[in-house]
Amino acid sequence: MIALTSKHPRAVVAALSALALGIASLLAASPAQAQAGGPLRIEITEGVIEPVPYAIPDFVAENAAGQQYAASLARVVANNLSGTGLLREIPASAHLGRIVSFDSPVQFSDWRAINAQALITGAVLVNGPNITVKFRLFDVVSGQQLGDGLQLDGRTDNWRRMAHRVSDAVYTRLTGESGYFDSRVVFIAESGPRENRRKQVAIMDQDGENVQFLTDGSALAFAPRFSPTGDRLLFTSYETGAPRVYLMDVATRRRQMLGDQPGTMAFAPRFSPDGQSVVYSLAVGGTTNLYLLNLGSGQRFQLTDTRAIDTAPSFSPDGQSVVFESDREGTSQLYVMDISTGATRRLSVGQGRYSTPVWSPRGDLIAFTKSNAGRFHIGVMRVDGSNERLLTASYLDEGPTWAPNGRVIMFTREQAGSDAALFSVDISGRNLRRVPTPGPASDPSWSPLMP
Protein backbone atom coordinates (compact mmCIF):
# COMPACT_ATOMS: atom_id res chain seq x y z
CA MET A 1 0.00 0.00 0.00
CA ILE A 2 1.06 3.60 -0.48
CA ALA A 3 2.71 5.19 2.57
CA LEU A 4 1.74 8.84 3.04
CA THR A 5 2.25 11.29 5.86
CA SER A 6 -0.23 14.03 5.03
CA LYS A 7 -2.71 14.98 7.74
CA HIS A 8 -5.34 15.89 5.20
CA PRO A 9 -6.55 12.62 3.65
CA ARG A 10 -9.15 14.27 1.42
CA ALA A 11 -6.58 16.58 -0.20
CA VAL A 12 -4.30 13.63 -0.71
CA VAL A 13 -7.09 11.66 -2.33
CA ALA A 14 -7.86 14.51 -4.74
CA ALA A 15 -4.20 14.89 -5.66
CA LEU A 16 -3.76 11.22 -6.30
CA SER A 17 -6.89 10.73 -8.36
CA ALA A 18 -4.91 10.08 -11.52
CA LEU A 19 -2.81 7.42 -9.82
CA ALA A 20 -5.98 6.07 -8.20
CA LEU A 21 -7.48 5.35 -11.60
CA GLY A 22 -4.55 3.10 -12.30
CA ILE A 23 -5.12 0.94 -9.27
CA ALA A 24 -8.90 1.24 -9.44
CA SER A 25 -9.33 -1.96 -11.39
CA LEU A 26 -7.52 -3.97 -8.73
CA LEU A 27 -9.59 -2.47 -5.95
CA ALA A 28 -12.90 -2.82 -7.72
CA ALA A 29 -12.27 -6.51 -8.19
CA SER A 30 -11.64 -7.15 -4.51
CA PRO A 31 -13.26 -4.63 -2.18
CA ALA A 32 -11.98 -6.71 0.72
CA GLN A 33 -8.67 -4.98 0.22
CA ALA A 34 -10.31 -1.70 1.13
CA GLN A 35 -10.30 -2.59 4.83
CA ALA A 36 -6.63 -2.25 5.66
CA GLY A 37 -5.22 -5.49 7.03
CA GLY A 38 -8.00 -7.27 5.21
CA PRO A 39 -11.51 -8.21 6.25
CA LEU A 40 -12.38 -9.79 9.57
CA ARG A 41 -11.87 -13.49 8.93
CA ILE A 42 -13.71 -16.22 10.79
CA GLU A 43 -13.86 -19.98 10.36
CA ILE A 44 -17.06 -21.85 11.17
CA THR A 45 -16.94 -25.60 11.67
CA GLU A 46 -20.09 -26.24 13.71
CA GLY A 47 -23.60 -25.85 12.41
CA VAL A 48 -27.06 -27.22 13.03
CA ILE A 49 -29.04 -29.96 11.40
CA GLU A 50 -32.68 -28.96 11.12
CA PRO A 51 -35.39 -29.24 8.50
CA VAL A 52 -35.52 -26.14 6.31
CA PRO A 53 -38.92 -24.41 6.69
CA TYR A 54 -40.67 -23.88 3.33
CA ALA A 55 -44.03 -22.84 1.96
CA ILE A 56 -45.85 -24.13 -1.11
CA PRO A 57 -49.17 -22.43 -1.73
CA ASP A 58 -51.67 -24.16 -4.02
CA PHE A 59 -50.60 -23.84 -7.64
CA VAL A 60 -52.29 -21.10 -9.66
CA ALA A 61 -54.89 -22.45 -12.10
CA GLU A 62 -54.28 -20.60 -15.34
CA ASN A 63 -57.60 -21.77 -16.74
CA ALA A 64 -60.79 -23.23 -15.30
CA ALA A 65 -59.89 -26.79 -16.32
CA GLY A 66 -56.66 -26.54 -14.34
CA GLN A 67 -58.47 -25.79 -11.09
CA GLN A 68 -59.01 -29.42 -10.10
CA TYR A 69 -55.24 -30.00 -10.07
CA ALA A 70 -54.14 -26.76 -8.40
CA ALA A 71 -54.16 -28.01 -4.82
CA SER A 72 -53.40 -31.68 -5.57
CA LEU A 73 -50.14 -30.90 -7.38
CA ALA A 74 -48.91 -28.81 -4.46
CA ARG A 75 -49.90 -31.51 -1.97
CA VAL A 76 -47.99 -34.25 -3.80
CA VAL A 77 -44.89 -32.02 -3.93
CA ALA A 78 -45.22 -31.09 -0.25
CA ASN A 79 -45.67 -34.73 0.74
CA ASN A 80 -42.49 -35.65 -1.14
CA LEU A 81 -40.39 -32.78 0.20
CA SER A 82 -41.56 -33.02 3.82
CA GLY A 83 -41.19 -36.79 3.64
CA THR A 84 -37.43 -36.41 3.23
CA GLY A 85 -37.13 -35.02 6.74
CA LEU A 86 -34.89 -32.29 5.28
CA LEU A 87 -37.70 -29.80 4.79
CA ARG A 88 -40.61 -28.74 7.00
CA GLU A 89 -43.74 -27.23 5.50
CA ILE A 90 -45.30 -24.07 6.93
CA PRO A 91 -48.96 -24.83 6.35
CA ALA A 92 -51.34 -22.65 4.35
CA SER A 93 -53.19 -21.71 7.53
CA ALA A 94 -50.10 -19.75 8.58
CA HIS A 95 -49.53 -17.97 5.26
CA LEU A 96 -49.88 -14.18 5.19
CA GLY A 97 -49.20 -13.67 1.50
CA ARG A 98 -51.02 -15.22 -1.41
CA ILE A 99 -49.77 -16.20 -4.86
CA VAL A 100 -52.54 -15.20 -7.27
CA SER A 101 -50.45 -14.89 -10.41
CA PHE A 102 -47.45 -17.03 -11.36
CA ASP A 103 -45.61 -14.13 -12.98
CA SER A 104 -46.21 -11.37 -10.43
CA PRO A 105 -43.20 -10.44 -8.27
CA VAL A 106 -43.11 -12.21 -4.92
CA GLN A 107 -43.57 -10.13 -1.75
CA PHE A 108 -40.74 -11.74 0.20
CA SER A 109 -41.59 -9.87 3.39
CA ASP A 110 -44.86 -11.85 3.58
CA TRP A 111 -42.93 -15.13 3.56
CA ARG A 112 -40.12 -13.95 5.84
CA ALA A 113 -42.79 -12.95 8.32
CA ILE A 114 -43.86 -16.60 8.69
CA ASN A 115 -40.20 -17.74 8.82
CA ALA A 116 -40.23 -19.56 5.51
CA GLN A 117 -36.74 -19.90 4.05
CA ALA A 118 -37.82 -21.41 0.74
CA LEU A 119 -40.93 -20.75 -1.33
CA ILE A 120 -42.27 -22.82 -4.21
CA THR A 121 -44.85 -21.28 -6.54
CA GLY A 122 -46.54 -23.10 -9.37
CA ALA A 123 -49.13 -22.88 -12.09
CA VAL A 124 -51.27 -25.38 -14.00
CA LEU A 125 -53.13 -25.22 -17.32
CA VAL A 126 -55.30 -28.01 -18.76
CA ASN A 127 -56.46 -28.41 -22.36
CA GLY A 128 -58.42 -31.59 -22.90
CA PRO A 129 -56.10 -34.51 -22.08
CA ASN A 130 -53.02 -32.26 -21.88
CA ILE A 131 -51.64 -30.57 -18.79
CA THR A 132 -48.88 -27.95 -18.42
CA VAL A 133 -47.27 -27.48 -15.00
CA LYS A 134 -44.77 -24.74 -14.15
CA PHE A 135 -42.91 -23.95 -10.95
CA ARG A 136 -40.41 -21.48 -9.48
CA LEU A 137 -38.25 -21.87 -6.37
CA PHE A 138 -37.21 -18.89 -4.24
CA ASP A 139 -34.71 -18.38 -1.43
CA VAL A 140 -36.85 -16.20 0.82
CA VAL A 141 -33.98 -15.12 3.07
CA SER A 142 -32.01 -13.49 0.26
CA GLY A 143 -35.09 -12.67 -1.83
CA GLN A 144 -33.76 -14.42 -4.94
CA GLN A 145 -35.06 -17.04 -7.31
CA LEU A 146 -33.00 -20.24 -7.28
CA GLY A 147 -32.45 -21.63 -10.75
CA ASP A 148 -34.85 -20.92 -13.60
CA GLY A 149 -37.84 -23.02 -12.53
CA LEU A 150 -39.30 -25.46 -15.02
CA GLN A 151 -42.25 -26.04 -17.32
CA LEU A 152 -43.50 -29.59 -17.87
CA ASP A 153 -45.99 -30.68 -20.53
CA GLY A 154 -47.79 -34.00 -20.31
CA ARG A 155 -51.09 -35.86 -20.12
CA THR A 156 -53.56 -35.26 -17.31
CA ASP A 157 -53.60 -38.93 -16.37
CA ASN A 158 -49.89 -38.55 -15.57
CA TRP A 159 -50.42 -35.51 -13.33
CA ARG A 160 -48.80 -37.23 -10.36
CA ARG A 161 -45.61 -37.79 -12.32
CA MET A 162 -45.50 -34.08 -13.14
CA ALA A 163 -45.67 -33.35 -9.41
CA HIS A 164 -42.89 -35.88 -8.74
CA ARG A 165 -40.70 -34.26 -11.38
CA VAL A 166 -41.30 -30.82 -9.87
CA SER A 167 -40.34 -32.33 -6.50
CA ASP A 168 -37.12 -33.76 -7.97
CA ALA A 169 -36.18 -30.39 -9.50
CA VAL A 170 -36.76 -28.52 -6.22
CA TYR A 171 -34.99 -31.15 -4.14
CA THR A 172 -31.98 -31.21 -6.47
CA ARG A 173 -31.66 -27.42 -6.45
CA LEU A 174 -31.84 -27.20 -2.66
CA THR A 175 -29.67 -30.15 -1.69
CA GLY A 176 -27.31 -30.70 -4.61
CA GLU A 177 -28.40 -34.37 -4.67
CA SER A 178 -30.07 -35.93 -7.69
CA GLY A 179 -33.76 -36.63 -7.10
CA TYR A 180 -35.73 -39.81 -6.41
CA PHE A 181 -39.41 -38.92 -6.38
CA ASP A 182 -40.33 -39.85 -9.97
CA SER A 183 -39.79 -43.55 -9.32
CA ARG A 184 -41.70 -46.69 -8.42
CA VAL A 185 -41.32 -49.51 -5.96
CA VAL A 186 -42.12 -53.16 -6.61
CA PHE A 187 -42.84 -55.27 -3.54
CA ILE A 188 -44.67 -58.32 -2.21
CA ALA A 189 -48.19 -57.52 -1.05
CA GLU A 190 -49.41 -59.94 1.59
CA SER A 191 -52.99 -60.78 2.40
CA GLY A 192 -55.18 -63.45 3.93
CA PRO A 193 -54.79 -65.40 7.20
CA ARG A 194 -51.29 -66.09 8.49
CA GLU A 195 -51.65 -69.85 8.00
CA ASN A 196 -52.55 -69.37 4.35
CA ARG A 197 -50.80 -66.21 3.28
CA ARG A 198 -51.27 -64.82 -0.20
CA LYS A 199 -48.16 -63.17 -1.65
CA GLN A 200 -48.48 -61.13 -4.84
CA VAL A 201 -46.03 -59.00 -6.74
CA ALA A 202 -47.28 -55.40 -6.57
CA ILE A 203 -46.03 -52.09 -7.94
CA MET A 204 -46.68 -48.54 -6.71
CA ASP A 205 -45.35 -44.98 -6.95
CA GLN A 206 -42.65 -44.34 -4.31
CA ASP A 207 -45.20 -42.33 -2.28
CA GLY A 208 -47.55 -45.30 -1.99
CA GLU A 209 -50.03 -44.23 -4.67
CA ASN A 210 -51.18 -46.09 -7.80
CA VAL A 211 -50.84 -49.61 -6.38
CA GLN A 212 -51.31 -52.35 -8.98
CA PHE A 213 -51.01 -56.13 -8.59
CA LEU A 214 -48.82 -57.89 -11.15
CA THR A 215 -49.42 -61.51 -10.10
CA ASP A 216 -52.71 -62.96 -8.89
CA GLY A 217 -51.41 -64.57 -5.70
CA SER A 218 -52.38 -68.11 -6.66
CA ALA A 219 -48.73 -69.06 -6.20
CA LEU A 220 -46.26 -67.63 -3.67
CA ALA A 221 -43.97 -64.96 -5.13
CA PHE A 222 -40.77 -63.47 -3.69
CA ALA A 223 -37.94 -61.00 -4.29
CA PRO A 224 -39.23 -58.84 -7.14
CA ARG A 225 -36.40 -56.76 -8.65
CA PHE A 226 -36.48 -53.94 -11.20
CA SER A 227 -34.36 -53.85 -14.36
CA PRO A 228 -31.88 -50.93 -14.69
CA THR A 229 -34.31 -49.02 -16.93
CA GLY A 230 -37.39 -49.90 -14.86
CA ASP A 231 -39.18 -51.61 -17.76
CA ARG A 232 -38.85 -55.25 -16.61
CA LEU A 233 -38.96 -57.20 -13.38
CA LEU A 234 -37.44 -60.38 -12.10
CA PHE A 235 -39.12 -62.37 -9.37
CA THR A 236 -39.13 -65.84 -7.89
CA SER A 237 -42.31 -67.90 -7.90
CA TYR A 238 -43.38 -71.32 -6.66
CA GLU A 239 -46.08 -71.84 -9.27
CA THR A 240 -44.39 -74.93 -10.72
CA GLY A 241 -43.95 -76.35 -7.23
CA ALA A 242 -40.28 -75.36 -6.86
CA PRO A 243 -38.79 -71.85 -6.84
CA ARG A 244 -38.13 -70.58 -10.36
CA VAL A 245 -37.01 -67.20 -11.71
CA TYR A 246 -39.45 -65.26 -13.92
CA LEU A 247 -38.88 -62.22 -16.13
CA MET A 248 -41.87 -59.89 -16.59
CA ASP A 249 -42.41 -56.90 -18.85
CA VAL A 250 -43.92 -54.22 -16.58
CA ALA A 251 -46.08 -52.56 -19.23
CA THR A 252 -47.57 -55.70 -20.81
CA ARG A 253 -47.39 -57.94 -17.72
CA ARG A 254 -46.19 -60.74 -20.02
CA ARG A 255 -43.74 -63.04 -18.35
CA GLN A 256 -41.50 -66.02 -19.01
CA MET A 257 -39.63 -68.48 -16.86
CA LEU A 258 -35.87 -68.23 -17.16
CA GLY A 259 -33.85 -71.39 -17.71
CA ASP A 260 -35.79 -74.22 -16.17
CA GLN A 261 -33.54 -76.98 -14.86
CA PRO A 262 -35.44 -79.90 -13.34
CA GLY A 263 -34.32 -80.88 -9.86
CA THR A 264 -33.00 -77.46 -9.09
CA MET A 265 -34.19 -74.37 -7.24
CA ALA A 266 -33.48 -70.94 -8.68
CA PHE A 267 -33.95 -67.76 -6.66
CA ALA A 268 -32.59 -64.31 -5.63
CA PRO A 269 -32.28 -62.97 -9.20
CA ARG A 270 -30.91 -59.50 -10.06
CA PHE A 271 -30.18 -57.74 -13.34
CA SER A 272 -26.70 -56.71 -14.45
CA PRO A 273 -26.36 -52.91 -14.88
CA ASP A 274 -26.61 -53.23 -18.68
CA GLY A 275 -29.86 -55.17 -18.32
CA GLN A 276 -28.52 -57.97 -20.54
CA SER A 277 -27.84 -60.60 -17.88
CA VAL A 278 -29.31 -61.97 -14.70
CA VAL A 279 -27.26 -63.12 -11.71
CA TYR A 280 -29.03 -65.57 -9.40
CA SER A 281 -28.63 -68.50 -7.03
CA LEU A 282 -29.14 -72.08 -8.16
CA ALA A 283 -29.39 -74.92 -5.67
CA VAL A 284 -28.32 -78.22 -7.23
CA GLY A 285 -27.72 -81.40 -5.27
CA GLY A 286 -27.18 -79.76 -1.90
CA THR A 287 -24.96 -76.84 -2.90
CA THR A 288 -26.13 -73.33 -3.81
CA ASN A 289 -23.92 -71.31 -6.14
CA LEU A 290 -24.17 -68.10 -8.13
CA TYR A 291 -24.83 -68.22 -11.85
CA LEU A 292 -24.97 -65.57 -14.57
CA LEU A 293 -27.49 -66.00 -17.38
CA ASN A 294 -27.15 -63.98 -20.59
CA LEU A 295 -30.72 -63.13 -21.60
CA GLY A 296 -29.92 -62.77 -25.27
CA SER A 297 -27.90 -65.92 -25.87
CA GLY A 298 -29.34 -68.02 -23.06
CA GLN A 299 -25.77 -68.93 -22.08
CA ARG A 300 -25.25 -69.68 -18.43
CA PHE A 301 -21.97 -69.17 -16.52
CA GLN A 302 -21.26 -70.57 -13.08
CA LEU A 303 -19.67 -67.87 -10.90
CA THR A 304 -19.04 -69.68 -7.61
CA ASP A 305 -18.29 -73.30 -6.90
CA THR A 306 -18.21 -74.07 -3.21
CA ARG A 307 -20.06 -76.36 -0.84
CA ALA A 308 -21.48 -73.28 0.88
CA ILE A 309 -24.73 -71.45 0.27
CA ASP A 310 -23.96 -68.43 -1.93
CA THR A 311 -26.93 -66.17 -2.49
CA ALA A 312 -28.36 -62.62 -2.64
CA PRO A 313 -26.02 -61.37 -5.37
CA SER A 314 -25.99 -57.66 -6.31
CA PHE A 315 -23.97 -56.02 -9.09
CA SER A 316 -21.85 -52.89 -8.67
CA PRO A 317 -23.13 -50.05 -10.91
CA ASP A 318 -20.06 -50.41 -13.16
CA GLY A 319 -20.90 -54.08 -13.73
CA GLN A 320 -17.40 -55.21 -12.68
CA SER A 321 -18.23 -56.80 -9.32
CA VAL A 322 -20.90 -58.72 -7.51
CA VAL A 323 -21.44 -58.56 -3.76
CA PHE A 324 -23.15 -61.58 -2.23
CA GLU A 325 -23.87 -63.47 0.95
CA SER A 326 -22.12 -66.75 1.75
CA ASP A 327 -21.64 -69.05 4.73
CA ARG A 328 -18.41 -70.49 3.31
CA GLU A 329 -16.50 -69.56 6.47
CA GLY A 330 -19.17 -70.79 8.85
CA THR A 331 -21.54 -67.88 9.41
CA SER A 332 -23.31 -65.74 6.82
CA GLN A 333 -20.91 -62.99 5.67
CA LEU A 334 -20.57 -60.66 2.69
CA TYR A 335 -18.09 -61.20 -0.15
CA VAL A 336 -17.22 -59.26 -3.29
CA MET A 337 -16.24 -61.03 -6.50
CA ASP A 338 -14.55 -59.47 -9.51
CA ILE A 339 -16.62 -60.80 -12.42
CA SER A 340 -13.81 -60.99 -14.94
CA THR A 341 -11.11 -62.57 -12.76
CA GLY A 342 -13.27 -64.45 -10.28
CA ALA A 343 -11.13 -63.06 -7.42
CA THR A 344 -13.23 -62.93 -4.27
CA ARG A 345 -12.57 -60.99 -1.06
CA ARG A 346 -14.43 -60.94 2.21
CA LEU A 347 -16.22 -57.64 2.92
CA SER A 348 -17.92 -57.87 6.32
CA VAL A 349 -15.70 -57.84 9.39
CA GLY A 350 -17.93 -57.22 12.40
CA GLN A 351 -19.70 -59.52 14.85
CA GLY A 352 -22.95 -61.11 13.78
CA ARG A 353 -24.45 -62.45 10.56
CA TYR A 354 -24.61 -60.39 7.38
CA SER A 355 -27.05 -60.91 4.51
CA THR A 356 -28.95 -59.34 1.58
CA PRO A 357 -26.20 -56.97 0.40
CA VAL A 358 -27.19 -54.33 -2.15
CA TRP A 359 -24.77 -52.03 -3.96
CA SER A 360 -25.73 -48.31 -3.96
CA PRO A 361 -26.51 -46.82 -7.39
CA ARG A 362 -23.74 -44.30 -6.63
CA GLY A 363 -21.26 -47.13 -6.25
CA ASP A 364 -19.91 -45.84 -2.94
CA LEU A 365 -21.74 -47.92 -0.33
CA ILE A 366 -23.22 -51.36 0.20
CA ALA A 367 -26.38 -51.75 2.27
CA PHE A 368 -27.06 -54.99 4.13
CA THR A 369 -29.06 -56.79 6.81
CA LYS A 370 -27.19 -57.68 9.98
CA SER A 371 -28.36 -59.80 12.87
CA ASN A 372 -26.47 -59.79 16.13
CA ALA A 373 -27.39 -60.59 19.72
CA GLY A 374 -31.02 -61.16 18.83
CA ARG A 375 -31.52 -57.84 17.04
CA PHE A 376 -31.76 -57.07 13.35
CA HIS A 377 -30.30 -53.99 11.69
CA ILE A 378 -30.14 -52.33 8.31
CA GLY A 379 -26.63 -50.99 7.80
CA VAL A 380 -24.25 -49.56 5.23
CA MET A 381 -20.53 -49.90 4.72
CA ARG A 382 -18.01 -48.59 2.23
CA VAL A 383 -17.15 -50.93 -0.62
CA ASP A 384 -13.85 -51.85 1.03
CA GLY A 385 -15.75 -53.00 4.10
CA SER A 386 -14.78 -50.01 6.24
CA ASN A 387 -16.96 -47.49 8.08
CA GLU A 388 -19.80 -49.90 8.87
CA ARG A 389 -22.77 -47.92 10.23
CA LEU A 390 -26.03 -49.37 11.49
CA LEU A 391 -29.04 -47.26 10.54
CA THR A 392 -31.85 -49.17 12.27
CA ALA A 393 -32.45 -51.73 15.01
CA SER A 394 -35.52 -53.85 15.68
CA TYR A 395 -37.08 -57.27 16.17
CA LEU A 396 -36.76 -57.88 12.40
CA ASP A 397 -35.46 -55.47 9.75
CA GLU A 398 -34.26 -56.89 6.44
CA GLY A 399 -33.90 -56.61 2.70
CA PRO A 400 -32.71 -53.04 1.96
CA THR A 401 -33.18 -51.39 -1.44
CA TRP A 402 -31.70 -48.05 -2.54
CA ALA A 403 -33.53 -44.99 -3.81
CA PRO A 404 -32.18 -43.97 -7.24
CA ASN A 405 -30.06 -41.18 -5.70
CA GLY A 406 -28.37 -43.43 -3.14
CA ARG A 407 -29.52 -41.29 -0.20
CA VAL A 408 -32.56 -43.19 1.08
CA ILE A 409 -33.04 -46.90 1.82
CA MET A 410 -36.35 -48.78 1.95
CA PHE A 411 -36.63 -52.12 3.76
CA THR A 412 -39.01 -54.60 5.41
CA ARG A 413 -39.75 -54.33 9.12
CA GLU A 414 -41.72 -56.85 11.09
CA GLN A 415 -42.70 -56.12 14.67
CA ALA A 416 -43.01 -59.08 17.04
CA GLY A 417 -46.37 -60.77 16.51
CA SER A 418 -47.53 -58.37 13.83
CA ASP A 419 -47.43 -57.99 10.08
CA ALA A 420 -44.56 -56.96 7.84
CA ALA A 421 -44.49 -53.39 6.52
CA LEU A 422 -42.23 -51.20 4.41
CA PHE A 423 -40.11 -48.49 6.03
CA SER A 424 -37.60 -46.01 4.71
CA VAL A 425 -34.63 -44.29 6.34
CA ASP A 426 -32.15 -41.63 5.28
CA ILE A 427 -28.52 -42.68 4.82
CA SER A 428 -27.68 -40.63 7.91
CA GLY A 429 -29.93 -42.86 10.00
CA ARG A 430 -32.49 -40.09 10.43
CA ASN A 431 -36.07 -39.82 9.29
CA LEU A 432 -37.22 -43.41 9.75
CA ARG A 433 -40.79 -43.56 8.46
CA ARG A 434 -43.38 -46.06 7.31
CA VAL A 435 -44.17 -46.31 3.59
CA PRO A 436 -47.96 -46.58 3.11
CA THR A 437 -49.15 -49.84 1.50
CA PRO A 438 -52.69 -51.29 1.20
CA GLY A 439 -51.83 -54.12 3.59
CA PRO A 440 -48.83 -56.02 4.93
CA ALA A 441 -45.88 -55.68 2.58
CA SER A 442 -42.31 -56.93 2.23
CA ASP A 443 -39.35 -57.32 -0.11
CA PRO A 444 -39.27 -53.86 -1.75
CA SER A 445 -37.17 -53.01 -4.79
CA TRP A 446 -36.83 -49.39 -5.89
CA SER A 447 -36.83 -48.49 -9.59
CA PRO A 448 -34.48 -45.97 -11.21
CA LEU A 449 -35.88 -42.52 -12.03
CA MET A 450 -38.55 -42.91 -14.68
CA PRO A 451 -37.39 -41.86 -18.14
Binding site: V13, L40, P51
Partner: protein, 133 residues
Amino acid sequence: MADAITDALAAALADDPQPGGGGDAGPSITQADIDGLRLAVEECWNVGILSSDALQVVVTIGFEMSPDAHPIPGSVRLVEAQGGGQAAQMTAFEAGRRAIEECGMNGFGLPSELYDQWRLVEITFNPANMSSR
Protein backbone atom coordinates in the same frame (compact mmCIF):
# COMPACT_ATOMS: atom_id res chain seq x y z
CA MET B 1 -15.33 2.25 -7.67
CA ALA B 2 -14.49 5.78 -6.52
CA ASP B 3 -15.64 4.91 -3.02
CA ALA B 4 -13.34 1.89 -2.98
CA ILE B 5 -10.39 4.02 -3.93
CA THR B 6 -11.25 6.66 -1.35
CA ASP B 7 -11.68 4.00 1.28
CA ALA B 8 -8.45 2.28 0.35
CA LEU B 9 -6.41 5.42 0.56
CA ALA B 10 -8.16 6.59 3.70
CA ALA B 11 -7.46 3.25 5.32
CA ALA B 12 -3.83 3.40 4.25
CA LEU B 13 -3.58 6.73 6.08
CA ALA B 14 -5.47 5.57 9.15
CA ASP B 15 -3.69 5.20 12.44
CA ASP B 16 -4.86 1.69 13.23
CA PRO B 17 -5.30 -0.37 10.07
CA GLN B 18 -5.25 -3.85 11.65
CA PRO B 19 -8.34 -5.45 13.14
CA GLY B 20 -7.29 -6.53 16.62
CA GLY B 21 -4.03 -4.70 16.03
CA GLY B 22 -1.39 -3.19 18.31
CA GLY B 23 -2.36 -2.07 21.78
CA ASP B 24 -0.99 1.42 21.46
CA ALA B 25 -3.03 2.22 18.34
CA GLY B 26 -6.52 2.42 20.00
CA PRO B 27 -9.24 -0.07 20.97
CA SER B 28 -9.51 -3.32 19.01
CA ILE B 29 -12.40 -5.63 18.42
CA THR B 30 -12.23 -8.25 21.17
CA GLN B 31 -12.15 -12.01 20.87
CA ALA B 32 -15.52 -12.04 22.66
CA ASP B 33 -17.02 -9.87 19.89
CA ILE B 34 -15.56 -12.13 17.22
CA ASP B 35 -16.82 -15.23 19.04
CA GLY B 36 -20.25 -13.64 19.33
CA LEU B 37 -20.40 -13.14 15.56
CA ARG B 38 -19.18 -16.67 14.93
CA LEU B 39 -21.70 -18.24 17.33
CA ALA B 40 -24.54 -16.18 15.87
CA VAL B 41 -23.84 -17.38 12.34
CA GLU B 42 -23.29 -20.98 13.52
CA GLU B 43 -26.84 -21.08 14.87
CA CYS B 44 -28.22 -20.46 11.41
CA TRP B 45 -25.75 -22.57 9.45
CA ASN B 46 -28.09 -25.43 8.69
CA VAL B 47 -26.27 -28.24 6.91
CA GLY B 48 -29.04 -30.84 7.23
CA ILE B 49 -30.15 -30.31 3.67
CA LEU B 50 -26.71 -30.59 2.07
CA SER B 51 -25.79 -33.56 -0.07
CA SER B 52 -22.77 -35.64 0.88
CA ASP B 53 -20.91 -33.90 -1.97
CA ALA B 54 -21.85 -30.48 -0.62
CA LEU B 55 -20.61 -31.56 2.81
CA GLN B 56 -17.15 -31.87 1.24
CA VAL B 57 -17.12 -28.24 0.12
CA VAL B 58 -15.20 -25.61 2.10
CA VAL B 59 -16.71 -22.30 1.05
CA THR B 60 -15.54 -18.77 1.90
CA ILE B 61 -18.18 -16.06 1.74
CA GLY B 62 -17.48 -12.36 1.96
CA PHE B 63 -19.92 -9.61 2.85
CA GLU B 64 -20.18 -6.06 4.07
CA MET B 65 -21.99 -4.87 7.18
CA SER B 66 -23.98 -1.70 7.66
CA PRO B 67 -22.94 0.48 10.62
CA ASP B 68 -25.63 -1.16 12.79
CA ALA B 69 -24.08 -4.58 12.16
CA HIS B 70 -26.54 -5.94 9.64
CA PRO B 71 -25.19 -7.77 6.59
CA ILE B 72 -25.84 -5.72 3.44
CA PRO B 73 -27.83 -8.22 1.32
CA GLY B 74 -26.39 -7.44 -2.10
CA SER B 75 -22.85 -7.64 -0.75
CA VAL B 76 -22.88 -11.35 0.11
CA ARG B 77 -20.63 -13.05 -2.41
CA LEU B 78 -18.62 -16.18 -2.99
CA VAL B 79 -14.91 -15.62 -2.34
CA GLU B 80 -13.70 -19.18 -2.80
CA ALA B 81 -15.05 -22.75 -2.86
CA GLN B 82 -12.92 -25.88 -2.58
CA GLY B 83 -14.06 -29.44 -3.10
CA GLY B 84 -17.23 -30.91 -4.59
CA GLY B 85 -18.71 -30.29 -8.02
CA GLN B 86 -20.52 -27.22 -9.23
CA ALA B 87 -23.94 -28.14 -7.86
CA ALA B 88 -22.40 -29.01 -4.49
CA GLN B 89 -20.51 -25.71 -4.33
CA MET B 90 -23.69 -23.81 -5.15
CA THR B 91 -25.74 -25.43 -2.40
CA ALA B 92 -22.87 -25.02 0.07
CA PHE B 93 -22.68 -21.31 -0.81
CA GLU B 94 -26.43 -20.91 -0.42
CA ALA B 95 -26.43 -22.56 3.00
CA GLY B 96 -23.67 -20.18 4.13
CA ARG B 97 -25.46 -17.18 2.64
CA ARG B 98 -28.69 -18.15 4.42
CA ALA B 99 -26.78 -18.44 7.69
CA ILE B 100 -25.32 -14.94 7.34
CA GLU B 101 -28.54 -13.26 6.21
CA GLU B 102 -30.91 -15.17 8.49
CA CYS B 103 -29.01 -14.67 11.73
CA GLY B 104 -27.98 -11.17 10.67
CA MET B 105 -31.58 -10.02 10.30
CA ASN B 106 -31.59 -8.52 13.79
CA GLY B 107 -28.01 -7.33 13.62
CA PHE B 108 -24.91 -8.94 15.06
CA GLY B 109 -24.51 -6.51 17.96
CA LEU B 110 -20.93 -5.48 17.21
CA PRO B 111 -19.48 -2.29 18.77
CA SER B 112 -20.30 0.61 16.43
CA GLU B 113 -17.20 2.61 17.38
CA LEU B 114 -15.06 -0.17 15.90
CA TYR B 115 -17.04 -0.34 12.64
CA ASP B 116 -13.87 -0.06 10.58
CA GLN B 117 -12.69 -3.35 11.99
CA TRP B 118 -15.74 -5.41 11.19
CA ARG B 119 -17.28 -3.64 8.21
CA LEU B 120 -15.92 -6.29 5.87
CA VAL B 121 -16.11 -9.92 6.90
CA GLU B 122 -15.09 -13.19 5.30
CA ILE B 123 -16.44 -16.39 6.77
CA THR B 124 -15.06 -19.80 5.84
CA PHE B 125 -17.63 -22.58 6.35
CA ASN B 126 -15.90 -25.94 6.82
CA PRO B 127 -18.32 -28.86 7.22
CA ALA B 128 -15.68 -31.51 7.94
CA ASN B 129 -17.08 -32.12 11.44
CA MET B 130 -20.68 -32.28 10.23
CA SER B 131 -20.42 -35.16 7.78
CA SER B 132 -21.31 -38.75 8.64
CA ARG B 133 -20.74 -40.60 5.39
